[in-house]
C-alpha cells in the first residue's frame, strides 16, 4: 500500500498552497514554497491504489525517499542513544546536594 493515505497528499498540497503557508514559508526561508510534488504524489498514489501501476508506485516511493533524505542531510551534532537515560524515572531526592 502507499506510504500515506492518498487523501493526505491532497490535503498537504492544499495546505502548501494556502496563503498562510506561503506567508510562513517566506518568513522562514525567504522564498515561495514548492507545492507541485504533493500534487504529483497524489496522482501517483491514486493511480497505484486504483490500478496498481508499477510506475506510479515507484515514482511515489522515490519521491518519499527523497523527502526522508532531505530531513537527514546534515551530520548530527550529537550521538543518538540506543536506550533512554537510565535515570529518567528515578525518584527525586529533595534537598540532595548537587554533584
Amino acid at each position: 500500500m502507499p506510504p500515506r493515505v492518498c487523501d493526505d497528499y491532497w490535503s498537504e498540497f492544499r495546505h502548501c498552497k494556502s496563503l498562510w503557508n506561503r506567508f510562513h514559508h517566506y518568513y522562514t526561508h525567504g522564498t515561495s514554497p514548492s507545492c507541485k510534488q504533493w500534487k504529483v504524489d497524489y496522482r501517483n498514489c491514486s493511480e497505484w491504489e486504483k490500478h496498481k501501476t508499477t510506475e506510479a508506485k515507484e515514482a511515489l516511493q522515490a519521491s518519499e525517499r527523497c523527502r526522508v533524505a532531505e530531513q537527514r542531510k546534515f551530520p548530527p551534532v550529537w550521538n543518538l542513544r540506543k536506550d533512554p537515560p537510565r535515570d529518567w524515572n528515578l525518584p527525586l531526592n529533595q534537598g540532595k546536594p548537587q554533584d
Binding site: 506510504p3 500515506r4 546534515f74 551534532v77 534537598g95 546536594p97
Partner: protein, 233 residues
C-alpha cells in the same frame, strides 16, 4: 562555596527553588502565596489540548521516556524573566509560575522545554560541558516551539519579514546560552554559527517546522502513521 560557583556556572541560580523550595510542596502556604495552582492548571490545559505538546509527549513515550506530570514537571518561582528550564540532572522540566501568566505562553514554554527533554531522551546530549550540544538544542527549541512565530516577534516589537524566523532563532538561542553559561557573546555566536545549519534543519519529531496548530496537527498525523510510512517506502 563550590556549590554556589557551580550553580552560577550552569544557570541554576536562575532557579533558586531547585535545591531549597520556599514552601512545602502541596502546602496551604504554597497555594496562597504562589501561582502554583494556576501553573498546574495551565500545564494540564497545554498537555491536553496543544498538538505541539501532544506530539512531543507521544514521541517521548515511544523513545522510552514516558512523561509523568508529577515527576517530570515542576512549577516553581524563578529568578528574573526566565520562563522555564530543563534540568537534566533530575530529568525535570521547570515551569516558572511567577513569570507565566497566559495560557499561550505556558503552551509555548511547555513545548520548548519538551523539545529539550526529547533531545535528552534520544541523544547523548552533554548539557553541562558541550556548548555545541546546548546550542543545538536551543536552536531546535526556538525553531520548533513557536517561539519565533511572526506574531510573537511582532509582540516583542521585532519587525522583520524575509527569513526573519532564522534571525529570531539565532538570537533566542544565543540569549538562552548566555543566560545559563558564563561565556562571551562572541564565543557563543561562533558556536551557534557552527551548528546552525544542522540543528535548524533537524525537525524531529515534527518532520517540519510547525508554524501553527494546523501544521502541528499535520505533523501529528504523519507521526501517528509513521509505521505504515516507513514500511512502504
Amino acid at each position: 562555596m563550590d556549590q554556589t560557583k557551580q550553580e552560577e556556572e550552569y544557570g541554576y541560580d536562575l532557579f533558586p527553588e531547585r535545591n531549597s523550595p520556599k514552601y512545602k510542596k502541596g502546602s496551604f502556604a504554597e497555594n496562597l502565596f504562589t501561582f502554583n495552582h494556576k501553573c498546574q492548571i495551565m500545564l494540564q490545559v497545554a498537555t491536553d489540548t496543544s498538538p505541539y505538546a501532544k506530539l512531543l509527549l507521544s514521541a517521548m513515550k515511544s523513545s522510552g521516556c514516558k512523561i509523568f506530570k508529577d515527576r517530570h514537571f515542576s512549577c516553581e518561582d524563578c529568578d528574573g524573566t526566565v520562563s522555564g528550564g530543563f534540568d537534566a540532572a533530575s530529568s525535570q522540566i521547570v515551569l516558572c509560575q511567577n513569570n507565566i501568566h497566559q495560557q499561550s505562553h505556558m503552551t509555548r514554554v511547555v513545548t520548548h522545554e519538551l523539545i529539550h527533554a526529547f533531545d535528552h531522551c534520544r541523544a547523548h546530549v552533554d548539557w553541562f560541558n558541550n556548548y555545541r550540544h546546548l546550542a543545538c538544542s536551543e536552536i531546535r527549541a526556538a525553531n520548533l516551539s513557536g517561539d519565533c512565530s511572526f506574531s510573537n516577534e511582532v509582540a516583542r516589537l521585532n519587525f522583520g519579514l524575509k527569513e526573519h524566523h532564522q534571525e529570531c532563532v539565532r538570537g533566542r538561542a544565543l540569549r538562552s546560552i548566555l543566560a545559563v553559561r558564563k561565556i562571551s557573546r562572541v564565543e557563543a555566536e561562533k558556536i551557534v554559527d557552527e551548528v546552525f545549519d544542522t540543528c535548524f534543519n533537524d525537525h524531529a519529531p515534527f518532520g517540519r517546522i510547525p508554524h501553527s496548530n494546523k501544521d502541528a496537527k499535520f505533523a501529528n498525523r504523519e507521526y501517528e502513521s509513521r509505521d505504515r510510512y516507513y514500511a512502504n517506502l
